[in-house]
């Protein structure tokens, strides 16, 4: 039996009927075609599916869609504005913090959550802020540099 849920995704209101066992990651990717959010494990280990839910980063593969009823979700697709790409996205591009790019959307959402709460994070806080996001390509070094460049 599907359940009707109401939620806001990237400031757009949605009313959707979802199966009770559908994850938020699958809802975003396969039903709403917001494929910027990636799946790297489906078990909450890699962080590639990170989105921001009511201000906090979550592994969207561990959140059931029905749990998001009434929530505010931000995904990587919601970051760019009419003025262009988001400063975090720009910093990742310019600092070479992206290689294969598969972890990038999740990494950027964790970064956004970190900087929203703490605009001037220390090195340790940056490391902790993205500790749930695995990257096998970059060795994180240029990701740290990108985030450091965004300190206010």
């Amino acid at each position: 039996m599907k359940k009707i849920i109401h939620l806001t995704i990237n400031e757009l209101d949605h009313e959707i009927a979802v199966e009770p066992n559908k994850t938020l990651a699958d809802l975003l990717r396969y039903d709403l075609k917001l494929t910027g959010t990636k799946k790297g494990c489906d078990t909450g280990d890699c962080g590639a599916c990170t989105v921001i839910m009511n201000g906090d980063p979550v592994n969207s593969c561990l959140v059931l869609a029905v749990q998001t009823n009434g929530s505010r979700i931000e995904t990587v697709e919601g970051l760019s504005t009419d003025e262009g790409i988001h400063p975090i996205q720009k910093a990742f591009v310019e600092k070479g913090a992206i290689q294969c790019g598969y972890c990038t959307p999740g990494m950027i959402m964790s970064t956004k959550s970190l900087l929203d709460k703490n605009p001037n994070p220390s090195e340790q806080e940056i490391r902790e802020g993205i500790s749930g996001n695995l990257c096998r390509c970059t060795g994180y070094t240029k990701i740290f540099e990108a985030i450091e460049s965004l300190r206010s």
Binding site: R29, T35, T43, S80, I85, K90, I98, C100, R136, T141
Partner: protein, 787 residues
């Protein structure tokens, strides 16, 4: 060296704006109208005879469109190297590891496909399984493959020079053993694919692969199709590191399901299936004896290695050769012998992973260099400098170092790490260690024996003259190759980078052997340069005809035509261009003739300006058996210094800093080169510190997820200082060579040498778990009677 306009800059990568915004399309982001979902039935047993397969219940399930087994897939064998084809799409008579493919289902949804898989009934006769080299080699052990007695998959015996003589003339002889653990690629994107046939019988396979070309050939061969009727498209790929460098059984099953159902079919591995397929780094067990003179001169290496291969050959035949051939350098050494053995057993097959075959041999040997240095009271860094090969030198197994900035790399890490101030002066528990390494810039020969071009590239100028389109079948999998080729094309044509558009990863665009053996920058780079030169030459030829000026007096740079001496009058050409350009408001006004004008005129005179380029290496290597493996047109090399802290009470090792210098020839994109260095270091740290695929007694992977299989996280990664050392490689495009794999070679031994410096213990087994290090420290304390 020539001054460059685009090469050697830190240009932003052309693919990353899409990757940063979520627009970059990976295979699972694609869906097709009417698409079905596939799922695999894989063996739960490590070794068993298949007595019967009953698919009737699965076929009857509502929503199931096809169930296939070996009856549909046939018995054509495939693999990586044609001489070693030992796999079929589905198991025919028996299964050889937990995960061996037996059947596949296509259905209207993934849930239905998975339910149908559960309904397939297979009767097995369980066979005794062998899970280790020792079990597999025992007399009377069950055999995995007919024709491979003692489960020996491959053996290599080589000797260069005279090792016995070399050791006899040595003052110091050191023998050690070294063992790593089976690794997993742990790329973040799991393999996936979509197969579809059109109404004319043409198959398109979109797949998360590093090697569209090899996948195309394998699919065509297994399905009995012409290569020209199979198109493989690689969308953006979430990395591969070698594991995605051959066709996998899911891709083949997916194509067969698409053929049977006449519908597009999508399949994905789950994370545990990625571990089950494996094809990552082998477990190597090395015994190495190295001899040296009192003055530190290296005399001989005697090397034996056993590779725990798993159930199939995969890349293993290349691996077992690489393990031997990449050990001798980067040092001057006349005598080297190698006895390598790869053994089958009932675990998933191992294959190629970053630093193919050579990483653990290096970890053993570079520790021995430190041991020799200690014995003779020499700084280990000086010992390496003393023995270091120089540009133009050839190893005893015929690998020619046509450029070799190794000494510069050592000096760079000496300075960068403050080696001279730290070595021998650090407090107990703190240590510093170094190591060197080198790697091929592309395999000298294709995986299948052939005279094929290793890369072909097309550069087409758009009819308006403004933009150059670069088409290459090469594989951008995260390393930055698309950007490197766009930069090479722009540099060669003499136009700004933003005027180049590049498309890659599609077998319809040409031949390219793909992203493995660190080959693309040099090989595809050459083909790109060749194609761009061809296109540019055509434009200049037309210009020469039109202006009645000698072609050798013209060039294009920064988007404008440059003339040697006084520029001829080109006003007629400009007028002609402006007439062609009615309606636009950006008519050229510059004093110089623009590339755009020249290119448009060339199109008007000759039609589409298409430059074609190609590359294959010159004949490389010696004449001995296996001489091909390890040859390359060029070798990248690197030196690293690791600084560590060892907790003497708990055995916990913390890496404080890595200083890494790599000679990549001419760096096409400096930021990308550093990225490869830092990424290599992180994979090396993972292998050194915590990565290990663990099996239970039934041959099942126990830690088949990224929680229990521990790769480096942001909390573990030390500070890495990446120093790019440039040389001018004569065999590389604009002097460029590899960086993707050479940079991992010194990481593990540098850490091990630093651990010794800190704690006085030599570890001969990875990973460096606190338990292992603690035990070694206790043993050391007992032996030296330290309380």
């Amino acid at each position: 060296m020539k001054e460059f306009d685009i090469i050697s800059t830190r240009a932003n990568r052309i693919d990353t704006p899409d990757k940063a915004t979520g627009r970059a399309v990976f295979v699972d982001d694609i869906s097709r109208p009417g698409m079905l979902y596939g799922a695999l039935l894989q063996s739960p047993h490590a070794h068993a005879k298949i007595l019967s397969i009953d698919t009737s219940k699965a076929e009857k399930l509502k929503g199931v469109k096809a169930v296939i087994t070996s009856k549909d897939a046939g018995s054509i064998k495939y693999g990586v190297s044609p001489a070693r084809y030992d796999e079929t799409v589905f198991a025919i008579d028996k299964v050889r590891y937990v995960g061996d493919e037996i059947a596949a289902v296509a259905a209207e949804s993934l849930d239905i496909a998975l339910a149908a898989v559960d309904l397939i009934k297979v009767e097995y006769e369980i066979l005794p399984a062998v899970l280790t080299i020792e079990e597999a080699m025992k007399d009377g052990a069950p055999l995995l493959h007919e024709g491979s007695p003692k489960n020996l998959c491959a053996e290599v015996h080589q000797e260069f020079g005279n090792v016995e003589e070399g050791l006899k003339n040595s003052d110091i002889i050191i023998t050690t053993k070294m063992k790593n653990k089976r690794q997993d690629g742990a790329f973040i994107e799991m393999q996936g694919c979509i197969a579809e046939f059109d109404n004319l019988g043409v198959l398109t396979l979109t797949s998360s692969t590093q090697v569209p070309h090899y996948v195309q050939r394998t699919v065509a061969m297994v399905l009995g199709m012409d290569i020209g009727k199979v198109r493989v498209i690689k969308p953006y790929v979430g990395a591969g590191f070698g594991i995605k460098a051959s066709a996998n059984p899911m891709e083949l099953a997916c194509c067969i399901l698409a053929r049977k159902t006449k519908k597009p079919v999508k399949m994905n591995y789950t994370r545990d299936q990625v571990f089950m397929l494996a094809r990552a780094r082998h477990q190597f067990s090395h015994t190495i004896t190295t001899g040296a003179k009192k003055d530190g001169t290296l005399m001989a290496i005697k090397h034996e290695c056993w590779l725990d291969g798993g159930a199939y050959t995969s890349f293993g035949i290349a691996t077992v050769y690489y393990t031997g051939s990449l050990l001798g350098g980067p040092y001057k050494l006349d005598n080297m012998s190698y006895d390598g053995y790869r053994v089958y057993n009932n675990k998933p097959a191992c294959g190629a992973q970053r630093g193919h075959g050579a990483v653990i041999a290096r970890a053993a040997f570079e520790q021995q260099l430190d041991m020799i240095a200690e014995k003779i009271g020499m700084d280990p860094l000086e010992l390496r400098i003393k023995n270091m090969m120089e540009t133009g030198d050839t190893t005893c197994n015929d690998l020619n170092m046509s450029s070799f900035g190794m000494s510069e790399c050592i000096e760079a890490v000496r300075k960068g790490s403050g080696w001279d101030q730290k070595k021998g002066k650090m407090p107990k528990g703190k240590g510093i260690g170094m190591a060197c390494g080198f790697f091929v810039s592309g395999a000298g020969y294709p995986i299948y024996r052939s005279d094929t071009w290793h890369g072909t590239v097309i550069v087409k100028l758009t009819e308006d003259g403004g933009t150059a389109l670069v088409y290459t079948a090469s594989a951008e999998i995260g390393q930055g190759s698309d950007t490197a080729f766009a930069m090479i094309a722009a540099e060669t044509l003499g136009i700004p980078l933003e005027n180049v558009r590049l498309a890659s990863g599609d077998t319809d665009m040409g031949v390219d052997l793909g992203a493995y053996s660190s080959r693309q920058t040099l090989m595809t780079g050459h083909a790109t340069k060749d194609a761009a030169e061809h296109a540019k030459r055509q434009v200049l030829e037309v210009l020469a005809e039109q202006l009645k000026a000698p072609v050798e007096n013209m060039d294009i740079r920064n988007g404008f035509v440059e003339f040697k001496g006084a520029a001829p009058d080109f006003s007629e050409l400009r007028t002609r261009y402006i007439k062609e350009h009615r309606g636009w408001i950006d008519n050229p006004t510059s004093e110089k003739l623009s590339f755009k004008e020249a290119s448009r005129i060339a199109f008007l005179e000759r039609g589409s300006i298409v430059g074609t380029g190609k590359y294959k290496p010159h004949n490389l290597g010696g004449k001995f058996k296996g001489a091909a493996v390890g040859t390359s047109p060029a070798y990248g090399c690197s030196a690293q210094v690791a600084e560590v802290t060892v907790d003497m009470e708990t055995g916990q090792v913390t890496i404080d800093k890595i200083t890494d210098a790599h000679d990549c020839g001419k760096a096409i994109n400096l930021t990308s080169v550093e990225g490869q260095m830092q990424g290599s270091v992180s994979m090396g740290i993972g292998e050194a510190m915590h990565e290990e695929v663990i099996f239970d007694k039934q041959g099942r992977v126990l830690n088949h997820d990224l929680a229990e299989y521990k790769i480096v996280t942001s909390m573990d990664m030390p500070k890495v200082e990446a120093i790019v050392v440039e040389s001018d490689e004569p065999n590389g495009p604009y002097g460029a060579k590899e960086v993707g794999e050479g940079a991992i070679m010194p990481t593990i031994p540098a850490i091990l040498n630093a651990v010794y410096d800190a704690a006085g213990v030599r570890l001969n087994e990875l990973p460096l778990t606190p338990e292992r290090v603690y035990n070694a420290i206790q043993e050391y304390k007992e032996k030296n009677k330290i309380k």
